[in-house]
Amino acid sequence: MDQAVGVELPAFFANLFHFSGMLRKAGLTISLEQLIEFQRSLEIIDLRQREQVYFAARGILVKRHEDYGLFDRVFNHFWRAPQPTDRQIGQKTPLAPRHNAPKRQPLNLATLMAQRAREADPALDLADKSGSFSPTEILQNKAFSEMTPEELETIHKLIASIRWQVSLRQTRRRVSNRQGHFLDMRRVMRNAAGVGGVPVKLAWQNRKIRPRPLVVLADISGSMERYSRILLQFCFSLTHTLQEVECFVFATRLSRITPQLRLNSIDRALAEAAQQVADWSGGTRIGQSIHTFNRQWSRRVLRRGAIVLIVSDGWESDDASVLGQEMRYLQHRSHRIIWLNPLLGHQAYQPRVAGIEAALPFIDDFLPIHNLQSLEALSYRLAKLGRRPAPGGLKH
C-alpha cells in the first residue's frame, strides 16, 4: 500500500513460484489462484514485518491445521532473511526435497505378511495337505489361519468381489419424491402460477436416504498377526465399495490408514498403509487405542449414525477396565458397535479373555470373522442392520 515495495518484479515472481513449488513438494496442494491471492495480499500488508508475511502466506496457502508444521519448516527454510544487498534469493536454488524422497518398501505387504505368518507358526504348514488349488467351496469354510499363501491369494480376489452395503438412514435433507410426506410449497406455488393461482397440482418431498458412515478399528498386534493381511484387504475392499469409510489400525498405538487405502492399486495401498503404521505386531493396548480414537477422532468421524466395526481377539495387555470405560463412551456415540473376533469361529471358544469380558456389555453384535463365509454373513448383516437392541448390551 503506502510502503514502496522495493522488489524487482521478475525475480519476485520467480521466488514466489519457487516457494510454492517447495510447498507442493512438501505435500501441500496449492492452486494458481491461491498463489495469485497470496501475491495480492503482499500488496496490502507491511512487507517489512516478517510476521505479517508469514501469517498472510499461511492463511491463504494452508487449509488444514495439521499442515501448519510442514508449512513452518518450508517457510523458515525459504524466507530466511536474505543479505541486505542480495535481492535475488531465487537464484540460489536450495536442493529440492526430491533428492531424499522417502524410500518405497520393495516388498509388498501381502508377501511380507504371508512370510511372517509362516515363520511365526510353522505348524500352519501341516494344514497345507488340502493342496494349493483348493476350489472355492472348500475355501468358503476354511479358517483364514489355516490357509496357505496361495489360498490366501484366491481369498484376496474373492474378498475384492464382495459388494459391501451398509444400512441406510434418513437424513434431514428433503428431496422431491412423489410418494413423499411433506408438501413442497415452493413447487406447489410455481405450478399454481400457471393455472390462475389455484394450487391444483400438489408436489411432495421426502427425507433423503443415505448409507450410514462406517468406521473400522482393526487390531494388528502380535496375536492377530496371521489375520492382518486379510484385515487390510478387507479394509481396502470396504473403502473402495462404500461411500463413507474410515479405517484405523492399532496394536499399542492407533494409526489412521484411510488416505492410504484410497489408492487404486491394492498392492500400493497396502504397502503405504503398512508404512503408516508405527507398531506392527507388538503387544495390544486396545483400551488405550480406543481412548485415542475417542479423543482425537470420534467427534470427526462418528457422526450421522455411524456404525463401528472393531476387529480384534480381545487380548489386552493393559488394565481391562480402561477398555470397558472407553467402549461405553464409544457405544454412546455410535449407531451400533459390531465386534468381529477371529477366535469366535472355533467351536470351543468362550469369551473368557479379560478384554472381551470388559467390552462385551457395550457390544451390539459379537460375530466371528475367521473364514470367507463369516465375511459374507457380515456383508449381509451390515446391509440389514436395524436399531440397537434393548439397552444392557448383548447377552452372549
Binding site: 492463511g59 494452508v62 435433507r173 406455488m189 402460477a193 393461482g197 394450487p199 479423543r295
Partner: protein, 298 residues
C-alpha cells in the same frame, strides 16, 4: 469505525482490543486480509476459543449489522437464502378472485419482493446496506455436503439467482466469518476461497488478560489461579478440554461465591463448570485436583 480506517494490521489489533477481544498477530493479520481482500475468514478450533465471538466484535467495531446463519444438517435454500411467503400468496390469490378485486390477475404479482421472506444469506447481500454487513456462518461442519457446495457458489461472487425475480448481487461484499468445530472435514475447495486460521487455546498470560478484561471485578490472584488450573487441565487426557468460555464461566461463578482463591473442596464442587463429561469429572475430582493445585505456583 469504518473499514477504511482500518488500514494496517496493527490498527485491527488495536480496534479489537478496544472491544475487549485479545487477538494475536496471526488472527489480526487474517481478519485484516479478509476485510481488505473481500474474502471469507474460515476459523477452525476447539469449542470455546472465541470463533463466534470475533464476528460479534467485528460487527460492533464496524458499526454494521451482524447477520447470523446457524448451520444444521439438511439446511436448505428455504432456510438459508429465501422462501416465498406461501400463506400470503394464497391469500392474495383468494382476494384477487373476489368480485370486488380490482388488481391484475393474481399470478402476475405473487412472485414479487413483497412476498419474499429473506433468510440470512439473502439479507447479507441485500442492496439496502450502506456498508458491508458482517455475515457469520456458524458451525459449518454441522451442515451437509449439499449446503457446502451451495455456499461455494455464493462465496465466489456474492450473488443469488431467484428464478422469478432475477439475480441479486451484493453492493458491498459482506465481511464473512465461517466457523467450524471440526466434527468433519470441510471440503478443500471451499477453504481455498477463504483465509484459513486455526485458533489455538491462548497462552497463560493472554488468558489471564482475557479474564481480567471480561471480569473486571475479579481478584488478580483468583484470575491467575483459575487460568493456571485450566491450563493444567488442558494437558490432561480428557475427552473434552475446557475452552476460554469455560474459564470465564468458572471464574465468574467463583466470584459469585465470594471466593478469593482456589481450595480443593471448592474445585471439586464446581468442577462441572469446566468439565462437561461425567467421565472427565470422575477422573479429575479428588486426588487429581489436589495434585494439580499443588503444581500451581503459590
Amino acid at each position: 469505525m469504518s473499514s477504511e480506517a482500518l488500514n494496517t494490521v496493527d490498527s485491527i489489533s488495536a480496534a479489537l482490543a478496544e472491544e475487549n477481544y485479545i487477538a494475536d498477530a496471526g488472527l489480526s493479520t487474517s481478519v485484516f486480509l479478509a476485510i481488505k481482500m473481500g474474502k471469507a475468514l474460515f476459523l477452525e478450533g476447539e469449542p470455546g476459543v472465541g470463533k463466534t465471538e470475533i464476528a460479534k466484535v467485528l460487527s460492533n467495531l464496524l458499526h454494521v449489522p451482524l447477520i447470523r446463519l446457524q448451520c444444521y444438517e439438511g439446511l436448505d435454500i428455504n432456510h438459508a437464502v429465501y422462501e416465498w411467503n406461501y400463506l400470503r400468496q394464497l391469500l392474495e390469490i383468494q382476494a384477487a378472485n373476489q368480485p370486488q378485486a380490482t388488481s391484475q390477475p393474481a399470478t402476475e404479482n405473487i412472485f414479487t419482493e413483497k412476498f419474499l421472506l429473506r433468510r440470512p444469506l439473502l439479507q447479507a447481500i441485500d442492496q439496502s446496506h450502506e456498508a458491508a454487513p458482517v455475515l457469520l456462518i456458524d458451525e459449518l461442519d454441522r451442515a451437509d455436503e449439499e449446503f457446502e457446495s451451495f455456499l461455494l457458489e455464493l462465496l465466489s461472487d456474492y450473488q443469488v439467482t431467484i428464478p422469478e425475480l432475477g439475480t441479486l448481487k451484493a453492493r458491498h461484499t459482506p465481511v464473512t466469518i465461517i466457523t467450524s468445530n471440526r466434527t468433519r472435514e470441510i471440503h478443500d475447495a471451499l477453504k481455498r476461497r477463504c483465509i484459513y486460521f486455526w485458533i489455538d487455546y491462548p497462552s497463560r498470560e493472554k488468558e489471564i488478560e482475557i479474564v481480567r478484561l471480561k471480569l473486571p471485578g475479579i481478584a488478580q490472584r483468583l484470575a491467575e489461579q483459575v487460568v493456571d488450573f485450566v491450563q493444567l487441565i488442558r494437558q490432561q487426557e480428557l475427552y473434552k478440554s475446557p475452552g476460554v468460555a469455560e474459564t470465564l464461566d468458572w471464574a465468574e461463578a467463583l466470584g459469585h461465591l465470594n471466593q478469593s482463591q482456589l481450595e480443593p473442596k471448592l474445585v471439586d464442587t464446581t468442577l462441572g463448570m469446566i468439565l462437561k463429561y461425567q467421565d472427565d469429572v470422575t477422573k479429575i475430582r479428588g486426588e487429581r485436583v489436589r495434585e494439580l493445585l499443588g503444581q500451581i505456583p503459590a
